[in-house]
Amino acid sequence: MAEKRTYEVIFIIDPDADDAEVMRLTETTQKIITDQGGSITKTEMMGKRQLAYELSHKRDGIYVLLEVDGSGAEIAELERRMRVNDRILRYMTIRVDEDRRRAQKLKDRRARKAERRTKPGKAQVAEPETDAEAEAA
């Protein structure tokens, strides 16, 4: 549990909530996280959006996105709190550090490949590659 993880927490607030209530709810969630030893790296108010299907008989919802660094304990606490809060229509937490590492790996691999391509026998090898790149553009 000691390792550092990154999560994306997204939750939907009741569309009837006014700005002040949205702010208050967002601040409380942030406080829960910091109290538990996590840190918030990003907060994004995505605003009111139409839902793809009804949630608690509501057609829209106010989306808030948080990015959290922590151990996982704060997520457990946060989810427990959100579950009982009936102003929060839905929440979802996604662990993103693993996905990001994988994306980075793919990116690095591609960079290495590109490097290998351009280095040996510069002009000859580079020629057929430009074709592929032109197609990609």
Binding site: L51, A52, D99, R102, L106, A136
Partner: protein
């Protein structure tokens, strides 16, 4: 069924990559076009569930995930795409089922 697919995909711009071979009873239309993965061309490493516009283009009217047999997406990217679509559904960005 196949007629259905035709109509549906043309609205999403996949008609070019459509495989027309092997359709019995519909004449010898062997217009096989090499399907290419759009994500590989764009060098996408991660498909975000918040990118609703993108995901919508892979979920035709009914809300189902478009099979890669039709879209031409490679296996690795189809997995990412499916995961992203499922996440988007959970958070009401996309419908589970639409009629």
């Amino acid at each position: 069924m196949s007629t259905n697919f035709d109509e549906r995909d043309s609205a999403y711009g996949f008609e070019r990559e459509y495989e027309r071979a092997g359709m019995p009873g519909r004449g010898p239309r062997r217009m096989q076009r090499r399907k290419i993965c759009r994500f590989c061309i764009d060098k996408v490493d991660y498909i975000d569930f918040k990118d609703v516009k993108l995901l919508q283009s892979y979920t035709p009217e009914r809300g189902k995930i478009l099979p890669r047999r039709i879209s031409g997406v490679c296996a690795a990217h189809q997995r990412m795409l499916a995961e992203a679509i499922k996440r988007a559904r959970n958070i009401a960005f996309l419908p589970y089922a639409a009629d």
